[in-house]
């Protein structure tokens, strides 16, 4: 489980923007990303490396172009951890509700 690494990787506006775009197009090139976001290729590569380290994206060399592919499985891991905690809190709040509403009729 690498949720914390994933959150850190996504906790940056530029990287989050890259992921958002990829979630629409599912694949892109480093050239496209740097043009779209108005950043240098060097800058795009640096940001992508963080996403690669967290397994959020994978890079594939195709001839002269480097393709960037989104790993949706990684994103699912991150979101399932959070939704599990959410369910847990829902449950605790239900127990609190039962308790205060019951004790009302004392």
């Amino acid at each position: 489980m690498i949720e914390a690494t994933i959150y850190k990787a996504l906790g940056d506006p530029i990287r989050l923007e890259i992921v958002k775009r990829l979630s629409i197009t599912s694949t892109s090139t480093i050239g496209d990303i740097s043009t779209d976001l108005g950043i240098s290729r060097q800058g795009a590569r640096k940001q992508l490396q963080v996403l690669v380290n967290a397994n959020v994206v994978h890079l594939m060399q195709k001839g002269r172009q480097t393709h960037v592919i989104l790993d949706t499985k990684t994103l699912q891991i991150a979101s399932s951890f959070i939704s599990q905690l959410e369910r847990q809190w829902d449950n605790r709040l239900e127990a609190l509700k039962d308790f205060v509403e019951e004790s009302n009729s004392d």
Partner: protein
């Protein structure tokens, strides 16, 4: 990415009663931890006990009667004992707001997930499925006694 969880629930009870249920050590153990050791007051670090599921030390951050109660803890790691403030932790906040129809809205937020180290997340994740069953079980027992 998501650093915060936010949940809301509406209750047919006064804000005083709800606040007491959250902030009074006698009442909080009726619906959340089984036991509470130490002083449940601002600045103190009491211990929530979850029976066989271990213990979790918390640090009470704020207590504003009938409106707001907050503490820090190590999420999911129900075996953490020590100074909560010296380790990565999350902030739990309860906010109570009165609605016009005599009910109250309780908002719960837990924040700080982005700063948790990977190994803690892993521990939390493993423990959470257990914690979830545990809470369901408690809830069921509680309803049965009513």
């Amino acid at each position: 990415m998501q650093n915060t969880i936010e949940r809301e629930i509406t209750m047919k009870a006064s804000k005083e009663r709800i606040y007491e249920a959250i902030a009074n050590p006698e009442y909080v153990t009726q619906w959340f931890p089984e036991t509470l050791e130490g002083s449940y007051t601002v600045g103190e670090q009491p211990i929530f006990g979850f029976g066989d599921h271990g213990k979790n030390q918390i640090c009470v951050i704020a207590a504003q009667p009938h409106e707001y109660f907050a503490y820090r803890w190590v999420p999911g790691a129900s075996n953490f004992l020590g100074d909560v403030l010296t380790v990565p932790n999350t902030l739990i906040e309860f906010r109570i707001a009165e609605l016009a129809d005599g009910t109250c809205k309780v908002t719960l937020t837990e924040s700080g997930f982005a700063d948790l180290p990977t190994e803690l997340m892993e521990a939390a994740y493993k423990q959470n499925s257990g914690g979830w069953d545990f809470m369901l079980d408690r809830l069921e027992k509680y309803i049965e006694t009513v």
